[in-house]
């Protein structure tokens, strides 16, 4: 049971860096802008420069570069798949043959292309990792709520979405703990979950899923009651303890992001190499 207690949600690494202290809205916007930049960059030089830029940002955020590996691990398979698909099916037939495997010819150009696309994926993960490493889930939901506030009039339930996300974050560890406990209780009654074909395995999950759902519903009921008892009535008229304020550093960060983006984009638009 102790396992679930130690579960951490998200990848937030608490530090006292300037990037950590940025308003989450600034970081959401900057991450979006940099993502666009990544897709516009189409050569190795640009990628390398962008990589260097990210390394600098990680240094400022006081996050060891080793953590980037941690962020890449879950997408390793995707990365490999992308690389191989592009290697074999890029459609690039002309150019210098690099490897010949029977009828399949891999050209240097195709290899470069595959490598570039994989690199683009890596940069994407690195950029979003910087965001998740430096933004607590709480700040993330707050930022999201505030960014969506103007869209309230056209029916976007920003507050409700943010509240749902924050409650989900709060209860994920609890539900993990619960799953483990129910699993063990059924195992004590002779249940086995890793035996038989797919159908049998799926059926074996029923004794876990039914109690888990029942419990989740009960929890939801009780939580709703507790929230009501604490005078919760939706986002209307609600204030926040931690108001989000744009600080001078947010202006600096936004300015830097814009400048960097222009720096990456302008040569491309001008058709420069």
């Amino acid at each position: 049971m102790e396992l679930a207690r130690n579960l951490t949600i998200g990848q937030y690494i608490p530090r006292e860096s300037p990037i950590h202290h940025l308003d989450p809205r600034t970081k959401i916007a900057a991450t979006a802008a940099l993502t666009v930049v990544i897709f516009v960059i189409n050569d190795f030089t640009g990628s390398a420069l962008f990589g260097a830029f990210m390394v600098a940002l990680f240094l400022v955020a006081q996050i060891p570069l080793g953590y980037v590996g941690r962020g890449l691990r879950p997408v390793l398979f995707l990365l490999l798949l992308t690389f191989l698909l592009n290697l074999f099916f890029s459609g690039i037939r002309d150019g210098t043959p690099l490897i010949r495997l029977g009828p399949v010819v891999i050209t240097t150009e195709a290899a470069a292309r595959a490598f570039f696309i994989a690199l683009r994926l890596v940069l994407l993960v690195v950029t979003t990792s910087l965001f998740t490493f430096t933004t607590s889930p709480m700040a993330l939901t707050d930022g999201m709520e505030r960014l969506l506030r103007p869209f309230r009039r056209i029916g976007v339930p920003g507050h409700e979405l943010a509240m749902m996300m924050s409650i989900a974050l709060r209860f994920i560890p609890t539900l993990f703990e619960e799953t483990e406990r129910i699993m063990k209780a059924q195992m004590a009654r002779g249940a086995e979950f890793q035996r038989g074909n797919l159908l049998r395995r799926a059926k074996a999950l029923l004794p876990i899923l039914v109690p888990l759902f029942l419990s989740a519903f009960r929890r939801a009921d009780e939580l709703a009651l507790a929230m009501e008892a604490r005078a919760y009535r939706g986002g209307e008229g609600r204030t926040r303890m931690k108001e989000l304020h744009f600080a001078p550093r947010d202006a600096v960060a936004a300015g830097a992001t814009v400048l960097a983006s222009i720096g990456f984009l302008v040569p491309r638009w001008l058709g420069l190499p």
Binding site: M1, E2, L3, N6, R181, I182, K184, A185, Q186, M187, A188, R189, G190, A191, E192, L206, P207, V210, P211, L214, S215
Partner: protein, 283 residues
Amino acid sequence: MIETRDLHHVYLEGTPMSAVALRGVSLTIRDGERVGLIGPTGSGKSTLVQTFNALIRPTRGTVFVDGVDIFAPKADRRRIRQQVALLFQYPEQQLFEETVARDVSFGPRNLGLPEEEVASRVDDALHAVGLDPGTFGSRSPFTLSGGEMRRVALAGVLAMAPRVLILDEPTAGLDPQGKAEFLRLIHHLHARGNLTVILITHSMDEVAQVAERVIVLNEGLVAMDGPTREVFARADDLERLHLGIPQTAQVLHRLRARGLPVRTDLLTLEEARDEILRVLGTA
């Protein structure tokens, strides 16, 4: 018979989040014993009993059930879990079937018993927990009262026909009457067959009522182990572990501290009353 030898367990060993739960537990529980397992939260009680039926594999040391090493590569886990049954805390939360009878049959079915045997096991188990199979068998477990649901869960474990019954805080959340009934039920089950009972609880009064032997765990080690009276006579040691003793025994200790020559190894209300009357009569 359950025997542990130098049992160690560390959760998430080798990670920054590792937590030591057991640090060398060696003990023997004989057939038919009624054992109270007590200790502060985090002392390793739950971890220890989960090694008894191989739900947790200890990081070091092993457990023998009737002389068989249950962590040996060829050990039959299912057979061990049939012999050593474990009722978790708030067990009514594990119910999942449409009817009480089907839920109780989950265990015996998993054991691969023939249908007639399963049916008779279900009837026996429901009878044993004081629920009439005719009335309750076809009902949905989710329409029952909390106390009844808990007894259905107990029946589900008893239908495995275990020789050892481990109960992890079985009376938590019940009202006084529900608690008393459940404890009577445990007594009855023990008296009925040669069942070994291991009771984890925070209530010293429950231990005094159920257990003939008390094992005290503290920080993953056996701190005390002996007949219930002897363990409760060591009030100071128990207090140091924030465990306390039954309130009636506390009164006797208090009187002794004030110089009245009372015995302190008494547990029940009647014993305490008679002892006080005896001392007052001679005072």
